[in-house]
């Protein structure tokens, strides 16, 4: 139990500090690195409390895909060095008061929710799907994900497909001077539109019009 406490405070401290650095850092590349640090420490916490499959998935999806995507975009856009203009700084200070107010309110609301936890006896476990301690976490998720939640699983697959198509169509650029396949025109070609018979006079030759 003592080890659990120590690891919880260690990793959650790292997560909080680096999520502060994500928002406060001037350099966008540093922000991405701190984002990776947040995800890694949170996934370690997940593994520690017994959700090991989700911890691994978070490492793969966030650190392996999302953070690398962020890094690629930062690299492509050349926005690492942001020039801070003087008129911008004033506006940031204005936003800071509003932002701290909103943040404080949200934090207070959630503290109230946490302090209401003494009524936990009125909470009830209202699902028949319980965690079985004999099978592993991955096994338990797999048992439920492909049976009870198959519809949601397939819908999330559709969301990924739509996001992929959207990202491709947004960034797709039609290039000049590149021959592309035109499927319908190619299939619809008829004999009389592609072949023409020409009477050739002797000693004259034929002039083709392209």
């Amino acid at each position: 139990m003592l080890a659990h406490t120590f690891f919880f405070y260690f990793f959650s401290g790292i997560a909080i500090l680096s999520s502060l650095m994500v928002t406060l850092s001037r350099n966008t590349v540093y922000s991405v690195f701190f984002l990776i640090l947040v995800f890694v420490s949170i996934s370690i916490l997940f593994i520690m409390i017994g959700a090991e499959f989700l911890g691994m998935i978070m490492l793969i999806v966030y650190v392996g895909a999302v953070a690398v995507l962020f890094l690629f975009v930062v690299m492509m856009l050349n926005v690492t060095e942001i020039v801070n203009k003087k008129n911008l700084k004033k506006k940031i200070i204005n936003y800071r008061s509003v932002a701290s107010l909103v943040g404080l309110i949200i934090l207070l609301e959630m503290l109230i929710v946490v302090s209401g936890w003494k009524y936990k006896e009125t909470f009830s476990v209202f699902s028949s799907i319980n965690i079985n301690s004999e099978i592993s976490n991955t096994h338990a998720i797999g048992n439920v994900l492909y049976t009870d939640y198959i519809l949601l699983f397939q819908i999330s697959g559709m969301i990924l497909l739509v996001a992929m198509i959207g990202a491709i169509t947004l960034t797709f650029k039609k290039k000049e001077n590149v021959k592309r396949q035109k499927y319908f025109e190619q299939i619809n070609r008829e004999k009389d539109s592609s072949i023409s018979l020409v009477e050739v006079e002797s000693d004259k030759g034929v002039k083709l019009n392209d």
């Binding site: 919880f8 966008t28 947040v38 932002a99 959207g166």
Partner: protein, 103 residues
């Protein structure tokens, strides 16, 4: 204090959520940091779901965390594609200067 209970995990989620929300407000420099703050918010939601799932011994929270992961990945992909195409057109992603829609 020594015994780590669900309250600790919920507090951690609340702190990270708050940092994400404040980060959206104070980052007027570039929009990529705003997208990263949104990722932080989704992460805080995931912490809440997983800790409740472990506490209540109910696997449903972990299933929904996976769906949140899916939506977060899709959102990051589409958002970054929009940023790339905007940068190609305008040459800047300063949030203060994005006012074509008169918003």
């Amino acid at each position: 204090m020594i015994e780590v209970s669900i309250g600790h995990y919920l507090t951690l989620g609340a702190i990270i959520f708050t940092i994400g929300v404040v980060g959206i407000f104070i980052n007027k420099k570039n929009i990529i940091t705003i997208l990263m703050s949104i990722e932080l918010i989704l992460l805080a939601v995931n912490i809440n779901l997983v800790s409740f799932s472990i506490y209540l011994q109910n696997i449903t929270g972990q299933i929904f965390t996976m769906f949140i992961l899916t939506v977060a990945a899709a959102e990051a992909a589409v958002g970054l594609a929009i940023i790339v195409i905007y940068y190609k057109n305008k040459g800047s992603i300063d949030v203060e200067q994005i006012s074509s829609l008169r918003g």
